[in-house]
């Protein structure tokens, strides 16, 4: 996993990185799925308290790389990775890093809302409970309420906290999943196409939420929608065939990309 430290080639520094500290970084990362070389020699620096969007055509490896950031790929037996990924400068694949602990610092929201078959309250309380974050019931209740508020869901569900989370609408379910992720106080939130199963109104709601959340979290979002990337992110990374083609300030990527492939993609020539 963590062999020969890759050459320290710094990718070109986007403007936004100048005034924000680095949160996560990848150096010379290669990921294989069985025989498939899904990510090829990828290096990137992800800043804190900003939204970084990964865009690119289907199968370009953006979701695979996202899942490497909290080691969710560990759950797939045929998946192997080399190179280094760091969180606050520490290699997350070091033998003494527990993936279970890592994931409480790097949370994740999935493509399809996946609330647990429990009540709304229990969904949000799940993380704090397993990590033993709350000493008392009152403390737990407070944390659940705060998390739901941060996810902009509390007002809609405060009278039915003990009803099943699966009974909510798709957009509410996704905000519930975000509340659930927030409840363990992560530093980074990874979002894998969080709006692809939602209607435009629910999508707009989630996008607003993402914009609020970046005050407190480092957010990485994979999206198929270039408009969404343009709306919510400060940084955009364009992936193509397993390589990171271009990474920079969102406005620059969308108005003046330096690479022809990025240009072709954002103007809709393929993808």
């Amino acid at each position: 996993m963590n062999d020969a430290s890759p050459p320290l080639m710094k990718p070109p520094l986007p403007r936004i990185l100048a005034d924000r500290p680095e949160k996560m970084a990848a150096r010379g990362v290669n990921i294989h799925y069985g025989d498939k070389h899904a990510i090829k020699d990828l290096s990137i620096t992800i800043p804190d308290r900003a939204v970084s969007a990964f865009i690119g055509p289907s199968g370009c490896g953006k979701s695979t790389f996202l899942r490497a950031l909290n080691r969710m790929n560990d759950t797939i037996p045929s998946c192997r990775m080399t190179g280094a990924i760091t969180l606050d400068g520490r290699n997350i694949n070091d033998p003494d890093v527990d993936p279970v602990q890592l994931r409480s610092h790097v949370g994740m929201v999935f493509q399809k809302p996946n609330p647990f078959p429990k009540s709304i309250f229990e969904n949000v309380a799940y993380g704090p409970r397993i990590h033993g974050l709350c000493a008392s019931k009152a403390e737990l209740e407070q944390r659940v309420e705060e998390s739901l508020k941060k996810a902009g869901l509390f007002g809609e569900v405060k009278d039915r906290l003990h009803q099943p989370g699966t009974g909510l609408s798709g957009g509410q379910q996704q905000r519930l999943c975000i509340a659930r992720a927030i409840a363990v106080n992560p530093e980074v939130i990874l979002m894998d196409e969080p709006c692809s199963a939602l209607d435009p109104i629910a999508t707009a709601r989630i996008e607003e939420l993402i914009d609020e959340l970046r005050q407190n979290f480092c957010i990485v979002i994979v999206t198929h929608s270039m408009q969404q990337a343009a709306r919510v992110s400060q940084l955009t990374a364009f992936f193509h065939l397993g390589t990171l083609v271009e990474f920079g300030d969102t406005d620059k990527i969308f108005t003046a990309p330096t690479d022809q492939r990025t240009q072709d993609y954002i103007t809709g020539r393929y993808g």
């Binding site: 647990f116 429990k118 799940y126």
Partner: protein, 286 residues
């Protein structure tokens, strides 16, 4: 049309069986009062005077079923969890058929395994501990019956656990839950209604089982909840009452139909309860 006839035949057969059982039971209850049948504590159909109290048989049936469940539920459920959550795909592919092989063993074979191996073993251990153990005991029959329903529970539960969407597991793991926390707090609760119905199915299978009990638990209709004593069950009595008899007119043979009727209501009630349970949890979880 053919399809309609086929399903009509199946339904008609069921109704026919029910009608014949009802009719013969009716004849029986003209001879023996219903109340003394349901609440009698003596079962001696061939004695003089004959006694037809079902309670000893009911007790035996419940006792053996409970022993079987206590054996089979943890074994079946845990092996299902192991197979679906922890075993590597290759191991799972070879283990599951072996487990299902157990379901293919004829109950007669299990019966003499119970009578010739398990029962004497329990007796030896029991006497060693200074306990009074009958040579044929409810414990032996229950244990072997438990082995019989292990594959039923594990195979059904395994399918049900596998049907829990991967996205739920991912969601839990991504929260920083360990695999075992994920199983306990997310996967099992999600699979619970299905598992409950699998266990209900196993119960009706155990109640209806005859051969193992005939061979391992004896015929003595004792009103006892002592697992070390010999007991008898409803099914065993039906079998012994009717074997070899051609005339179905004495109280003795007719009582078999009354027993059959009780058994029928028993399993019917169980199935309805299982359905209710599943529906209730469905509402809760989906």
């Amino acid at each position: 049309m053919v399809l309609l006839v086929c399903s009509a035949v199946a339904v008609a057969t069921t109704l026919g069986i029910l009608a014949s059982v009802l009719f013969e039971s009716f004849v029986f209850f003209r001879e023996v009062p219903l109340l003394s049948f349901l609440f009698g504590t003596q079962w001696a159909p061939t004695g003089s005077p004959a006694a037809f109290g079902i309670l000893p048989l009911l007790a035996g049936t419940i006792l053996i079923t409970v022993i079987a469940l206590i054996t089979a539920t943890p074994l079946g459920l845990f092996s299902a969890i192991y197979l679906s959550e922890y075993a590597t795909p290759t191991l799972r592919k070879s283990l599951k058929p072996v487990l299902e092989l157990l379901a293919g063993i004829p109950t007669v074979v299990l019966g003499f395994f119970a009578a010739l191996t398990v029962a004497p073993f329990i007796r030896q251990v029991g006497t060693g501990l200074g306990l009074d153990v009958a040579s044929e005991s409810a414990l032996a029959a229950g244990l072997v019956m438990g082995m019989m329903i292990v594959p039923l529970i594990s195979s059904l539960s395994d399918d049900i656990i596998n049907a829990v969407p991967q996205s739920l597991r991912d969601g839990s793991l991504a929260m920083g839950a360990t695999p075992s926390e994920t199983v306990k707090r997310v996967v099992l609760p999600a699979a619970l209604p299905g598992i409950a119905s699998a266990i209900m199915l196993a119960i009706s299978r155990a109640i209806g089982e005859t051969m193992i009990v005939v061979m391992a638990a004896g015929l003595a209709a004792n009103l006892s909840f002592n697992p070390l004593a010999a007991v008898s069950t409803i099914t065993v009595q039906i079998a012994t009452l009717l074997v070899g008899d051609q005339e179905f007119d004495s109280d003795k043979t007719l009582s078999a139909f009354a027993l059959g009727l009780v058994l029928f209501f028993f399993t019917l009630a169980l199935n309805i309860a299982a359905l209710r349970l599943v529906r209730k949890y469905r509402q809760h979880y989906e």
